[in-house]
Symmetry: C2
Subunit: 143 residues, 2 copies
């Protein structure tokens, strides 16, 4: 699996998501370098055989989850006030949901693909914001 080249993934991950959530689908292609690593890897010819083999899809999505959870768990813990277990389950939700949408779109990054992912980025951005607000409210109540 290719390595993510992001220099400070913990600090940047939600900022990047918020940025992507605000980008119109027709401009998402121009910001392709900001997409999560598994989106980009799936476009590389040498990996396509892996992503199109239905018989190993549970194995592949689990490998992506194992690789990405190291990066995402600290982000969700910090930004949304979640415990490690809660952050791990949110990572699993997001990774497996996104993987299955990519599979249904045949990993084909055409205009439909950019449009659907633009909607998913907005959906997730709204979700993180709601969790952050809930955490802030909890903190205020405990003062």
């Amino acid at each position: 699996m290719a390595e993510d080249s992001c220099q400070d993934p913990i600090a940047d991950a939600l900022q990047i998501l918020n940025l992507l959530a605000g980008v119109q689908p027709e401009h998402l292609k121009e910001n392709e370098s900001l997409l999560p690593v598994c989106h980009r890897v799936a476009q590389l010819p040498k990996y396509q055989v892996i992503f199109h083999d239905e018989t190993i899809s549970n194995y592949v999505v689990n490998r992506i989850f194992q690789s990405q959870k190291q990066k995402l768990i600290p982000v969700y813990m910090d930004a949304c006030g979640l415990s490690k277990k809660e952050a791990e389950m949110l990572t699993l939700f997001v990774i497996t949901g996104t993987y299955n949408v990519n599979k249904a779109l045949n990993w084909n990054s055409n205009s439909v693909w950019y449009n659907i992912h633009s909607i998913l980025f907005r959906f997730m951005s709204g979700g993180y914001e709601r969790l952050r607000k809930h955490d802030t409210k909890r903190e205020t109540q405990s003062i």
Copy 2:
């Protein structure tokens, strides 16, 4: 698969989700009848063998998706201003993400399960709200 007994699923679905999103995890058990049908079915002894068999999990989640998309697609189209294809992909994202979290929690509705689902309900509720706001903004701009 058991039938959902909800009388008006299209009108009620997002209201129920918002209600669940505001319920503390320790009170979620008392509101179990409001949980999506696949959560409840998975607790029934006669269906447990299906939900615990890893070899058919892709088939099972696909059956749930096929069954639930009839109900959810019109809800997402109406409430979030999505096209049919966009609503279908959001349904797939939510169903497969939730299914995989349930699987990781071993379909065991204990206090951890209620806590994680409470977080996911909040996350999804925030996501739908963001899509609704985006749609309203788009409508306002086009006037």
